[in-house]
Amino acid sequence: MHDVLKVNMMANIHDENDHIASHTNEDLTDQHIYVINVMGAPGVGKTTTLKNIIKNLQGLKPYVIEGDIESDIDTRDLRSLGIDTFQINTFGACHLDAPMIHNQVQNIKFDEKGVLFIENIGNLVCPAEFSIGEHCKMLISTVTEGSDKPYKYPLAFEKADAILLNKVDLLPYLDFDEDFYMKGVRALNKEVPVFKVSGKTGEGFAEVAAWIQERAQEEKTAHHHHHGVENDHHHHHDHDTAHNHD
């Protein structure tokens, strides 16, 4: 007879990903690189937003990692503007994860202090679940997607450290209900700054760039404070709540 035994494990499946993410975060913090995980649905203007932020960024060198399922159109576009840009193709995978970024970062020479923008795969669901070593998650949302998005994709809005509401130049032509949108955002995320921007007119990006500069400065003066990674460790300690759900 075999001896059958039930063993409690309580092992978080994201642990290894989070461990690698915190390693990347420490490594880049030491090199004075502030890391921003840029998330948003396809077509919200993630690459255009990066160009606009970078135009306004002062005293920090921009670096970009472009995550795409396939193609390197955005990478060529950014390189043509003289921005140090690196491509990751996931060939089907719907989000970037910590090992992908860790491997890519090993190949980048950060010759000056600056900001590393990591443009995640266009997707409003999965990227919010995976820490990739960022200091800050930046969500690009648009008035064209509709004001119900916080209610339909709550996790992305809950996890965001900054939200850009893009394409506001189109507001006169749309039925976007800003009060309903903001009510949803505030229920999920009391403190998050929401910047109204337009990739078309360029409005709002000076404020975003100033906010990033301030945050990068704070990160440098408080080395031990790795916000994004701390956030993702919360759910390791939630086993008790998990059992009380009924």
Partner: protein, 114 residues
Amino acid sequence: MHEFPITQQIIKLAEKHATELCASRIKSIKLVVGDYCGFVGDSIQMYFDVISEGTLCEGATIEIEHVKPKMKCTGCGTLFEREFLSFACPKCGADGEPTEIGKEFYIESIEIER
């Protein structure tokens, strides 16, 4: 697609644990999966059956406990499952705030043979 690397991770974790306990085989794996963690149980089992071949996990069954996300009312403190397009508390109408309930993703236990 995105269940593939996660399933590899589940097998790796379960095997490591079972090996430490000198198990000859893993009979079952119990997962706790919050609905907000974005993983589909059927897809995990499908990848599992393929990837687990030749490991201690081969032939094991995966049992999944699903957890519905809950918000906590900022007015009266009630934990509740929200309605579509609303965060309002069904008791007092105040908005709820997010909790960690519904974001679980861990291996609770395994059954092993020795």
